[in-house]
């Protein structure tokens, strides 16, 4: 059976639906850029995109390939610099932050620095970039991940970006601002959130055609399961049309 959509398109649509109108969101490279562009067209026309090198409130008419590109501030409201953007986030202006990584643990900590031992890494990844700052300053962070057992693991090789660190109270004890932290994880299998008390990752909804067992099997730490698991709606025709025809007609990402 041929699917109506591919995994990347599903990730983009699910991420777009998480975005809230009239809020601000730190946008990283890749899926978040497409999700923000889609959300602006369909769900959140007044979403304010924030890019770390200085672009705030772009129309996102053209799809950027990098967070420092002209397209991140095309017809924007603000073109400033990295200090001003990060200081704005530090003062509590940025609600959502979209993050990626090679590994995530049950407290939403992320690794994008090395695979293996730090001194002798198997793979050297890019490093924090703005990830650590987004994870420190935004009120709610949303991780977009490929859901695989070697990525959803009990102990990260390296904590690049803070989630809830070692559990309840750990962010505040470390000195991070109270009331901030991980909010959602959007994957090719499911949408996940965090238990209010234990700060541990819990399943919210499975993607179309995916079972709870499959999600559990793809997660190498114990995943909290609620009494009722929702099912995400598949991408709509309208979402797919906007994505393919308007947002990424050159198929750079999808």
């Amino acid at each position: 059976m041929t699917e109506r959509y591919n995994g990347t398109e599903l990730l983009i649509c699910l991420s777009a639906r998480v975005m809230e109108d009239r809020s601000s969101a730190f946008i990283g490279t890749g899926v978040p850029m497409l999700a923000a562009a889609l959300a602006k067209r369909l769900y959140a026309p007044e979403l304010v995109s924030v890019f770390e090198f200085g672009g705030i409130g772009s129309s996102l008419k053209y799809l950027p390939r990098g967070v420092g590109e002209s397209k991140t501030f095309y017809r924007a409201l603000v073109a400033t610099g990295i200090c001003d953007v990060m200081e704005t986030a530090a003062r509590g202006f940025v609600t959502y932050g979209f993050l990626g990584g090679a590994q995530i643990d049950m407290y939403g900590n992320l690794n994008s620095t090395v695979i293996g031992d730090y001194e002798h890494p198997k793979v050297r990844l890019p490093g924090s970039g703005g990830g650590n700052d987004v994870g420190s300053f935004c009120w709610r962070t949303i991780a977009i991940m490929r859901h695989e057992p070697q990525r959803f693991i009990p102990k990260l090789d390296f904590v690049t970006t803070p989630g809830y660190l070692s559990g309840p109270g750990a962010r505040e004890a470390a000195g991070l601002f109270p009331g901030s932290g991980p909010y959602r994880v959007v994957t090719n299998l499911a949408t996940l959130g965090y238990d209010e008390e234990s700060k541990r990752m819990q399943l919210i909804a499975v993607n179309p055609g995916v079972t709870v067992e499959e999600v559990v099997a793809a997660t190498s730490f114990p995943l909290l399961l609620p009494a009722k698991v929702e099912e995400n709606a598949p991408p709509t025709d309208e979402e797919l049309r906007a994505l393919r025809e308007e947002i990424d007609p050159e198929h750079l990402y999808i």
Binding site: G54, G68, S70, M86, N132
Partner: protein, 375 residues
């Protein structure tokens, strides 16, 4: 001056007397608590503060000493408030500004307003034992690939949508390149600290993570009661290389679009090498003095470098040459390919003008101008 013991005593009394005060003063589980006073600094008695005891130290090496006194003396001895003509070709600019062993940094970020014509000139001339700072794409990759870099303060080195840097992977995984980790804000604020003339800045990022553990920062308790803070050491750069839209021959600069961290790194550096798409008359600067973001007295050399950001873009002027970047990424997969690329596009060419001919001359430039996003 209020006695802090008395103030604390009063608060202690009120917390039992009034439930509302008690609630306000009782920290939620795991929330920020007042600084521990096990180590009292007598000098701070009478103020809120205890001593700023270092609670944790990052294990990374401090690659550059935050020598603010040295920066002040350097500026006094080497900088001039006089309007001195600094317009030179790229060969002279690099000869003048970048020495073996220097700690250098590039602005903006890889493919946007990137000073790549100057980076190519550095590869052409060759330097040894450089140390680098920052985010990087080609700028960092080429110098690392050319074997000129001993150590790096890194925040991010990869190609975003196009994936990881083969050069960084080889250098760190196989060749033992020393890297020290920071976040993007962390690095930008390290420049800011140096620009302010302060030895460190306390921040609320990098805390609780291995990014901190592998940095050269420190963690302390805020003596004013905001919990733990990370202390970023000021970063004094030996030479900053910045590409701008226009500059006059004295070094006054204007940028269009986002400013990245140009303002901060220019003020944190002993030497500043500017390349500019356009050299303008000083009258242009005087008409809009508020747009002069890097004033002449910071600057040591000015180079006219049209399409200096190629294969990166220049906001409002020209777009990215994506096939050219992809060609580099393909070459970078092997050592042989990397060497051939450096030879062909840098070492065998006399200058930037020859590079512009190599990539297709006027026709190519028109093509790239058409890719500019516009306003």
């Amino acid at each position: 001056m209020p006695n802090y013991r008395r103030v604390l005593g009063l608060l202690s009394f009120h917390r039992y007397a009034f439930p509302a005060v008690r609630r306000a003063l009782t920290p939620a589980p795991g929330s920020v608590t007042m600084p521990k006073r096990s180590v009292l600094n007598p000098a701070a008695a009478g103020s809120l503060g205890g001593s700023m005891e270092v609670l944790e130290s990052g294990r990374g090496r401090l690659l550059q000493t935050p020598d603010l006194d040295g920066l002040r003396r350097w500026n006094r001895e080497h900088k001039s408030m006089a309007l001195v003509d600094k317009l030179v070709d790229e060969h002279e600019a690099v000869r003048r500004c970048i020495d073996d062993g220097d700690y250098i940094g590039f602005e903006l970020y890889g493919t946007c307003r990137a000073p790549l014509s100057i980076v190519r000139e550095i590869v052409r001339q060759g330097r040894r034992h450089l140390r680098l700072v920052g985010q990087g794409l080609q700028d960092v990759d080429w110098l690392v690939a050319a074997g000129m870099v001993d150590a790096m303060d890194i925040t991010y080195n990869a190609y975003e949508v196009h994936g990881l840097s083969s050069v960084l992977r080889r250098a760190v995984e196989k060749q033992g390149l020393e890297v020290v980790e920071w976040s993007n804000a962390g690095i930008a604020w390290r420049f800011k600290a140096a620009a302010m003339g302060v030895p460190f800045l306390p921040i609320k990022s990098m805390l609780g993570t291995d990014t901190f553990v592998r940095s050269a920062g420190k963690v302390t308790e805020d003596p004013f009661g905001n919990g733990r803070v990370m202390l970023l050491p000021a970063l004094v750069v030996d030479c900053a290389v910045i590409h701008v839209h226009r500059a006059d021959r004295f070094g006054n600069c204007q940028l269009d679009g986002i400013s990245g961290f140009a303002l901060e790194i220019a003020r944190a550096s002993r030497k500043v090498l500017i390349s500019a798409e356009e050299i303008v008359d000083t009258e242009t600067i005087r008409q809009y003095p508020e747009r002069n973001v890097i004033p002449y007295f910071l600057v040591d050399a000015v180079v006219h470098a049209p399409f200096g950001s190629h294969p990166g873009e220049m906001p409002y002027l020209y777009g990215r040459d994506e096939p050219s970047t992809l060609a580099w990424l393909e070459s970078a997969k092997t050592l042989e390919g990397t060497e051939a690329f450096l030879d062909q596009t840098m070492r065998r060419l006399p200058n930037h003008a020859a590079y512009l001919e190599l990539i297709g001359g006027a026709a190519k430039q028109a093509e790239l101008r058409a890719l500019a996003v516009g306003r």
